[in-house]
């Protein structure tokens, strides 16, 4: 029984990876690929959100770390001439450090208070980036360098001036993020994470130092958000503080919730891709539908599928068993 389950899961995973790698080949339209890139970024954020949910925190400020990563990498490139490739890491590290700094303080709080704090923090970050001249103020940062060409043996020199090539950079980040988080979730570490919102006192009495684990969890999620942020800075070539609004953080929550909390990696992937694809289609129809769409989706999901799309097979089984 376990063996077949494992193999079928393995096959699904391989198919998934192949599909993701072949998307730009199947759909070569640059605008489409651009959409896939947005899907990927959203997925990374959604995975992070779900990861943080594991420790019982509903984060309303994920985009703050997207911003920190983006600004760090952009400024490193513009002011210090750092290669965007290094900038990816720089953005992640910066986000991680900030996450660590606030995590050790914030994560002592729980529940609604913590969510409110994440919300407030995101606004602080946005305001700081949009008011201080050093960060370019309201206008943001423009003319951020793209990724330097890479010379790979056997492949020649690859330019990164089109969505096609950039997609694969994002895919690498997405895979790394997905695998890392999947591993974390399905390990003793993930077990410990999940134990905390259930009975933190019990976990403590069993030798768990809750703050340490919460911080590890939080920093990981924010690190990847930072890397994704750095990527977007170089891919789009510009940054606007206004795009890191609370609405965007809420959208992350909605995407992640739709995907499903049962699997951090898969839920994030599913939610990110699906929601962004619908959103892109709506943007072509009429941009004003987007908010109504997201709002309605979360309401419907809350009532009918609170555990997201990933819980659909289980729910169907239950329904079918009843009939």
């Amino acid at each position: 029984m376990n063996f077949t389950k494992g193999t079928s899961k393995g096959i699904v995973l391989i198919v998934l990876i192949l599909v993701l790698m072949l998307l730009p080949v199947i759909f070569p339209n640059p605008a489409r690929i651009g959409m896939f890139i947005s899907c990927g970024v959203a997925s990374i954020l959604a995975m992070g959100w779900l990861m943080i949910l594991r420790i019982g925190c509903l984060s309303l400020g994920q985009v703050a770390f997207l911003a920190i990563g983006g600004y760090t990498s952009a400024l490193l490139a513009q002011k210090l001439g750092v290669s965007p490739w290094i900038g990816l890491l720089g953005g992640g590290v910066a986000s991680g450090l900030v996450a660590f700094g606030i995590g050790v303080v914030f994560l002592k709080v729980r529940g609604l208070s913590l969510s409110i704090i994440t919300f407030a923090f995101a606004e602080v970050v946005r305001l700081v980036f949009s008011t201080l001249g050093f960060f370019g103020g309201h206008g943001g940062i423009l003319e951020i360098p793209k990724f330097n060409p890479l010379t790979l043996p056997g492949w020649g020199t690859i330019q990164f001036d089109s969505p096609f090539s950039n997609y694969y950079i994002l895919l690498m980040i997405l895979f790394l993020c997905g695998i890392f988080m999947w591993r974390m979730d399905h390990s003793a570490l993930g077990r410990t994470f999940k134990s905390l919102p259930q009975n933190e006192d019990l976990a403590e009495s069993l030798g768990v130092y809750p703050l340490r684990y919460k911080v590890i969890n939080f920093v990981t999620a924010c690190f990847f958000a930072g890397v994704a942020g750095a990527f977007t800075a170089h891919y789009y070539g510009c940054l606007y503080p206004g795009s890191y609004s609370v609405h965007q953080s809420i959208i992350v929550q909605i995407q992640a919730t739709v995907g499903g909390a049962s699997s951090v990696a898969l839920g994030g992937l599913l939610g990110g891709f699906l929601m962004v694809m619908v959103e892109s289609w709506l943007l072509n129809v009429d941009a004003r539908w987007v908010f109504i769409f997201y709002g309605s989706v979360i309401i419907v999901v809350t009532f009918f599928l609170p555990d997201g799309l990933l819980s659909l097979p289980q729910k169907m089984k239950k329904v079918l068993n009843k009939t």
């Binding site: 925190c57 529940g111 409110i116 979360i298």
Partner: protein, 288 residues
């Protein structure tokens, strides 16, 4: 002198705004146990309703305000009936998500109906008055007086009337209150209706004075939350005092410190929710 008086008046207007919103938020949390993140959007809906009725349909401003109260109050009750009550027993993260969804849907709908730029309906009470050697806008004075009357009315109502007492009982101990025969369902409707009306009034007050756009709701609800946090959830006096305090600080801060003052209010929110021992909101929401 004029500058001082005007600053005071502006602060009072801001405070009045915040107090009305904070009271509504506090009421909703106390009875429905939900932090109404959509409260700011109710406020904006009220403002737009007044705008649509007064500016576009040419209805008298006061009448428009009353109608707007009806509209937003009805909206609040609808949301309570369709969304909040059914989710009341479920995990708190559910109602949080749903409320955020409601907020987004409303904002989307507003941007559909009132596309384009920010709007305002322009001053209703034209003219200025001379007070203690300073020139002050009549409009703003009227706003402050009206708000004062409303808040006083609410305060007396909560303290003295049967419904007011029922509300306080329900906020304190829902199980016992319902055993005492207090109709939880109708109180919930009542509270939601009142809170929404308060938000609508605040919105109505604001449209002649400022520009509005559909997406302002988020930061507004945060200010209201700040006030409730500082003043104490469920305390009318607290909300009033905190509202005055924050209103004044913000007015002075923005005038003399510039945009960075906004950051201060968020930092204060963080500080309060970090250091209050059991979390201000008493009932800790756990998200599983």
């Amino acid at each position: 002198m004029t500058e001082l008086m005007q600053t005071i008046l502006n602060s009072l207007v801001l405070s009045a705004n915040y107090i009305l919103l904070a009271l509504g938020l506090s009421l909703i949390f106390g009875i429905l146990r939900v932090l109404n993140f959509a409260h700011g959007t109710f406020y904006i809906c009220g403002a737009y309703a007044v705008y649509a009725l007064a500016k576009m349909a040419g209805i008298n401003y006061f009448l428009a305000t009353l109608m707007a109260m009806g509209v937003v109050g009805g909206l609040g009750i609808l949301i309570e009936a369709v969304i909040l009550f059914p989710l009341a027993e479920k995990v708190k993260v559910a109602s949080l998500g749903a409320i955020l969804g409601v907020s987004m849907v409303l904002e989307g709908m507003l941007s559909f109906i009132f596309e384009g730029e920010d709007v305002t309906i322009g001053s209703y009470f034209k003219g200025t008055v001379s007070l203690m050697g300073a020139t002050l806008s009549v409009e703003r004075i009227m706003v402050v007086i009206l708000c004062g009357i409303i808040v006083l009315g609410l305060y007396l109502w909560i303290r003295k009337t049967r419904q007011g007492i029922a509300i306080r009982a329900l906020a304190e101990n829902p199980k016992v209150a319902s055993l005492q025969g207090i109709n939880t369902r109708s109180i919930r409707f009542l509270v939601m209706g009142i809170a929404s009306c308060l938000a609508a009034v605040a919105g109505a007050i604001v449209t002649p004075l400022f520009y509005i756009n559909p997406f302002m709701g988020g930061s507004i609800v945060f200010k209201a939350l700040l006030i409730v946090a500082v003043g104490g959830m469920g305390s009318i006096e607290g909300s009033i005092l905190a509202g005055l305090l924050i209103g004044f600080m913000e007015s002075i801060g923005v005038t003399y410190l510039g945009p960075i003052a906004e950051v201060a209010s968020f930092i204060v929110v963080i500080a309060i929710f970090l250091f209050r021992p059991r979390g201000l909101l008493g009932v800790e929401y756990e998200f599983h």
